[in-house]
Symmetry: none
DNA sequence: CATGAATGAGGTTTCATTCAT
DNA sequence: AATGAATGAAACCTCATTCAT
């Protein structure tokens, strides 16, 4: 875990101190190097020596910022998760009409935009999930996100009140997978696969939707807003 | 890759030579040890030393049967794939009526039966997919299987002739995933997840099905048989 | 070695400068932390990081007060030696009658009192003796102390003038050892071992003693005083 | 701990197999290197890298013979202890008359002979005693040896039956120490120190001796023999 | 004077693989 | 064919120390 002192604090004068800026840059460089490595060689290749080499810092310096090798992986994942959550929240908040289809499509679009910007995402997401603690972290996050969707969709009246949260969790799992498949061979993402996947998800969710949830609910008629936690 | 000499060849006399039988047993022991290890400790723990220890053979002896560590993993996967393919073929061959639903359900049931017998499957399948060459192997196999399904289903008249093979490939991907989700926390497989997943796949495939493919075609009306390759 | 600036010097005004007082406190804190560490974890655990942590000063700050890690150990030992010498001097100065037995017993008692107050002593003494320079320092000190005893005892007429200084040095060595043995398992010191040891030393020294040295010489008949160096 | 297979076993033909001889030589080389290192630089310098360098084997090879760094230290100590015990037993077995003095002098002579042959002994003995498990091992060994002496001496009628075993333990401790002192500066051992030390021990033990134990008991009048365990 | 940050050097251990027999 | 022994390469991590501020 990145140590707290790296969180951007401002000195009394209001300027960031250069030392802190340098630290920040280094953490960035290290994480970028790690990401690059994971993406090109797989998670197994993420060794301290290699990361340090690519980040152009001495190995010992890694330990200034990260407790151990796992902490680097954690930070990598965390960074992605946070970024992803932000993108989804922003995308959903800007919708004017909420239907199962618009919500699903918008969410998928948010992922696609992220993938476009950072192709490392898929690799991180899929391979990171395997090792011990990380797996738990990602899974919990995904389930939390799915449950948030469930709460939002039922409260907003898109899904019937008795819709099982498990359904949404499954939809997240499956979306993960078709997205992975879509981006596996094609850095831009195979449009046909995405389209098929979205149809599958939308069709499935509409089984649990209210008629308003199918037709769409104007944003101003919804009391609850996404991500206003 | 298992070295060629292990493929069951018969000596001039027509009897297997005892040495070969011993070799065969050893390969089995090694692969079983490897599988046991992967399942209990994860793929990272599959080291030559450990495998040899559990198989009760000297480490150096591994190299009599396998070119290198990766070859052990490959053989492990290959063994599973072959076993899985056989199970699916047998299950489908015994159907009396072929519909999208019965074919999907039967296939999924075949997987479930295999998982029940060999819980190692999920681990092997999901974690093995990560490292380099293995990933390619599994993916190719899955695509070949999906394409075989496509050929079978269109030839048999279950799917419309213009159904995109890609649709079936996607269904395989997604089935993989909901099965993984179902078996992740529950060694017996979460029935609700499996049911949801099957419904999603069936509903999606029926979009591309003929009416006969939805209703079911008697086995004796189908010219082509599954697995008679 | 503690840097010179820490020797209590007075500024021109005759008052200690507050900065120096702070330094002094810090040195104390550092040494206490080091001692605590050595006693609880052994000498091997005396690392800069750990000492700094326990002393609650930044690691780099250690180097304001000590040239390097060894200097901390040296200071630790020095502090003990000085304290020990003071205790012995005080104890001996208060004797009213000087005989081989009273001197030995009093000296041993002084050690015991010190051990009682600072159980760290044994650890410091025995383990510290190993590394390079420290060993020499302690040995020299012990020999100087033994020689001082020799000078005192012969001048005072307790030992015969021709008694070999080597005998006293040996007695110091051996006392060290039986004390270590006595305190090894027993924080209070095993009385039986101490008693045996004292008897052994006294008996041995009396071989070289004058008859007055065995019987005891009143303090006011002795021209030389201990510790008036 | 050296693995069992290194114990000199003979093959069916009665010849040592060359492979085993080579292993044996390597273990010797490693232990000698370690010993040399400990003696010249102290125990702290006993690092795997350094030992391997001096033994002229790759670092990884150390782990063929020793489980870890500590195992090397253990083997070093064990080797010395075994050798020492043998020497003492041999020396005592050859005595024709047993008195407190002859037994003490003979034992000390055995130590001296060992020191002469292997000057590393003192260092090993004294410094090894500090780290964790080794300390316990040596101490226990010493106490066992002392108790064996006690049993032998009381059974043989040299010491009074009520002599406290603790007395002998203390004598061992102290002998250790005066020997250390004697050999500290002088590779041949300072004769005067040894002489003083022996006198001190003999004098002390004679306090607990029978008159026969002082005068000497002919070997053939003693039922029990040393080291015939 | 004080210190956060940086780092070269080294620590021990494991690994997959090869080779001599 | 079988294997005990050997090993280069790399793994992660810690340490005492210095330096720029």
């Amino acid at each position: 875990m990145v140590t707290a002192r790296l969180t951007p604090t401002r000195s009394a004068s209001g300027r960031r101190r250069p030392v802190q800026r340098r630290s920040r840059e280094r953490v960035e460089r290290i994480l970028s190097a790690a990401e690059q490595l994971v993406v090109s060689q797989g998670f197994g290749a993420l060794g301290t020596r290699e990361v340090a080499l690519r980040a152009d810092v001495p190995v010992a310096t890694l330990y200034q910022y990260f407790a151990d090798r796992d902490a680097i992986i954690s930070a990598l994942i965390e960074r992605h998760v946070t970024s992803m959550d932000g993108r989804i929240a922003a995308a959903l908040a800007s919708l004017t009409s909420y239907s199962v289809r618009t919500v699903v499509e918008t969410t998928v679009e948010a992922y696609r935009a992220a993938y476009l910007e950072r192709p490392s995402y898929v690799v991180l997401w899929f391979q990171g999930r395997l090792s011990a603690g990380i797996a738990a972290y990602i899974r919990e996050h995904d389930e939390r996100l799915a449950d948030e969707f469930h709460r939002f969709a039922t409260t907003a009246g898109m899904l019937r009140p008795d819709a099982d949260p498990l359904v949404l969790r499954l939809c997240f799992e499956i979306s993960d997978r078709f997205l992975e498949a879509a981006y596996r061979h094609d850095l831009g993402g195979d449009d046909r696969i995405v389209k098929e996947g979205v149809e599958m998800i939308v069709a499935h969710l509409e089984r649990y939707a209210t008629s308003a949830g199918v037709a769409g609910i104007p944003a101003d008629e919804i009391a609850i807003r996404w991500g206003v936690s």
